[in-house]
Subunit: 208 residues, 2 copies
């Protein structure tokens, strides 16, 4: 009885950092950069607040690493989807890219079904005028653009439509209009106008 049990197990810092970043994605997503507190992130990760600060230096640094990780996961999901689309294609020359477009769209929906992931991305994009966070967000956006252009081989028009639809999905999801479609007639009609029944269903699940 001469020593108390520590509240958290002693685990490697790398693993701990990953736990914290996952927790931070949820917390920053729901509360935004300013609204989130290091204490809430710490509690979501099951550790003490000073330890979060110890591992990341500052709250700003924690947000940057959270945003970077989310952007990296987005890119990785897109690349995996691309590989799948190409593996599924018939042996002959590549199709017109419609399979890729569809598969990328599905991959995006799966990712942003997690509200924390969706909102962390959006908060990042909205902080374009922050001198340190802005460049990180823009760089992520441009990486996606280059991937669509160079790796997916999208035409300019495909890129335009893909990005624009993605941003509309974000807004429908974040605002809760997707979820409201279950109760509200106009919201349901809006979902019909914009995306088919399939997507609407995913949006509904994700908004919940």
């Amino acid at each position: 009885m001469s020593s108390m049990t520590p509240r958290s197990e002693r685990i490697p810092a790398d693993e701990r950092r990953e736990q914290i970043l996952a927790a931070a994605t949820t917390v920053f997503g729901e509360l935004g950069y300013a609204g989130a507190t290091t204490d809430r992130v710490a509690r979501a990760a099951g550790i003490s607040q000073p330890y979060v600060v110890r591992l990341f230096g500052t709250k700003e640094q924690l947000f940057i690493e959270t945003l970077r990780r989310t952007l990296a996961r987005l890119l990785a999901a897109f690349r995996a989807a691309l590989a799948e689309a190409d593996a599924g294609a018939d042996a002959g020359g590549d199709g017109d890219g419609e399979a890729r477009e569809a598969r990328l769209g599905e991959a995006y929906l799966e990712l942003v079904e997690d509200r924390g992931t969706l909102l962390t991305l959006l908060h990042g994009f909205m902080m374009g005028s922050d001198p340190v966070i802005g460049p990180v967000a823009r760089d992520g956006f441009l990486q996606v653009f280059r991937m669509l252009r160079d790796e997916a081989g999208f035409t300019p028009d495909q890129i335009h439509r893909f990005l624009a639809d993605g941003m509309l999905i974000n807004t429908l999801l974040a605002s809760g209009v997707g979820l409201a479609a279950k109760r509200d007639r106009d919201a349901a009609e809006l979902m019909d106008c914009t995306f088919g029944a399939h997507v609407a269903e995913v949006l509904e699940r994700a908004s919940a």
Copy 2:
């Protein structure tokens, strides 16, 4: 010398409220709901912090009224654009709606050229899960949808494209990718892919 000059002129409360809401649009836009402080709003409006609270009750109420005002201005701008488009049309039956689409798009760009207006709207849409702010934001979005459907007479496909393009413009503007196009090659190509030179120019001005 028995009394000091008040720091602010004594003006009617209605006028004061409008000044404060205009200032709040800038401050909430740049710092977000949580990041903004009633003190910064007060200073932007040239009055004391307690007086802002006195007039609006709470910070939350101030944000709600700021968001409502911004949404109302958006609707008003759209209705004015619609009236213009119809006034400009030749006497015969209405065109296929392309003039309306173009005029509405211009009206939107003019509005979101003000960064505070743009970001206040986006912050609202991102707070869909807030029990009191969420419904206000969704209601605004649905009002826009109904206007497009009932007053502009858009087809479902027109509605889809108009909204999706709008959301992409928002993101390009908020993240600063539009402005970065002046320096960054890929950013410039992205702007080319998505919107023509005309829109890109406006986005550039607006990002500045």
